[in-house]
Amino acid sequence: MGATVPLAASVLRRPRRRIDARPYAFVLPLILFEIGLVLVPLGIGFYYSLHRVDFFRLGDYVGFDNFVRVLTSPDVLRSLAVTATFTIWSLVFTFAVGFSLALYLERDTRTNVALRAIVLIPHVISLLVGSLLLRWILSADAGVLALILNPVGLGDISILGDPGRAMGALVGNAIWRDTAFAMILLMAGLKGIPTQLYAAARVDGATAWYTFRRITLPLMRMPVLITVVRLVIHFVNVLTFALVLTGGGPGSATRGVSLQLYRLGFESYRFGQANALAMLMMAFNVVLILVLVRLFRQRGSA
């Protein structure tokens, strides 16, 4: 800005010594909303996590007892493993497919623009509705699977009744919905690469693979990192896929940490432990978010 401020502006703006209250008045409502309805609840949650809570009644101060209990609970540990499996597979496929689509659909032709919109549709509809529709199409009642799989001789396969396949379905749900998200973020990065670089490479007779490796990939480092971090944050926390598509089952095969948290709070009503687990998740998220902020700053100054 500085250098391009027009003369009128610099003349009009008197040097001020006192603190100018006006910008604060303008941002105050936003700050109040965020403090009052995001930060204060987190504070209350932390306070509860340090106490015994019987249903909704706050009991004695117990220090980090709830945290110890949560971290030694076999259910929680199992859910962490489920979340790790789900996150890794979803990340790999969503990223790979998203990046491929970003490269494939990068040019703004009419078909590409239409295809991008189509890929985005599973992302803009409600998470709940998406998982519900997938549950229907994957159910034996729908008959779609049998229709496809009968000819291959796998007729009576049950997807959601088998632990491994249920996890596959959950990952499939993630790919189906979130590929578009990866695609859009990565495509924005691709569009930021100066076209002269590609032109120069072509003049030098570079192959497509060489151009991709030596120009696209190095310049995509930031967008790639940002996309990966944002996807990880999303996959580690997402609740609706498991809650609606698999219900965490069969058994506890797809019960990830967010579903464990939900059950602990809203089905077992253990709000001391649930808040402790929520704090642990939040700590994990905050670390990743700070990484994101840092990446974002680097990119801003670059």
Partner: protein, 279 residues
Amino acid sequence: MRRVRRRIRARVVADAIVAVVIGTVALGPILFGLSTSLKARDALFRFPPELWPASPTWENYRLLFSEGVAIPILNSILITTVTVAVCLAVGSLAAYALARFAFRLKGAVLVLVVVVMSIPLPSLIVPTFTFASQVGLIDSRLGLVLFYTAYQLPLAAWILWGFFTTVPEQLEQAAMIDGYSRLAALRRVVLPLSTPGLVAAGLFVLIFAWNDFVVALVLINSESLRTLPVAIYYFQGFFGREWGPLTASAMLSIVPVLIVFVIFQRHFLSGMTAGSVKG
């Protein structure tokens, strides 16, 4: 020459196949849901399944309305509308401060905005419920509007900030010389020139508030206050394996989103990349 032509034709065919695959995977589950929602009960479990009902019927939709789906729809419309209005109003004020003033805590405000924008909601619901039950914001449409606003304000402010910085400052200064206050300049000069920004921000808030499921699920108890996604969730228990009305309720949620998305598609992307790409 012939080989080149053949290669071009192969390319066209490959592109067409890829397009069909992308379309089928992305839209297949939605279109099959639409088809199911138009099937009569006896056609539902027929094998092989009809991809499109031979005799489509509105019976499932009629059933939903006789079960009172209009109430959650109205709740969702009300909550979404108010949330969009509040987010745009409060978000504009904040974005204006970010775009027009240099102030000491600006960096801190920006960090707050990016952090809240990135917090995934499932990790917030337990503390939020704990807090809301203390202050009486459980089972209240107002409560839902307030929380939705808190979650979407950062994004709205971020998008608007990007648009406000493109409005030339001289226009405002001219207005202020004519006696406009800062606030009046924002309302009469900056906002009218930032319509695309208001549309983009509003669109994002609208889709969020209309689609949200997890926050409403834990904060709303009464049947009469349910939003549409929460109602759909409970329909699952009510209708069981009757996928006709279930898929019909899914379509009631999807169709408005799709209409808005198709009309305003261009504006949509700026919100998705917010927080990742400089606006």
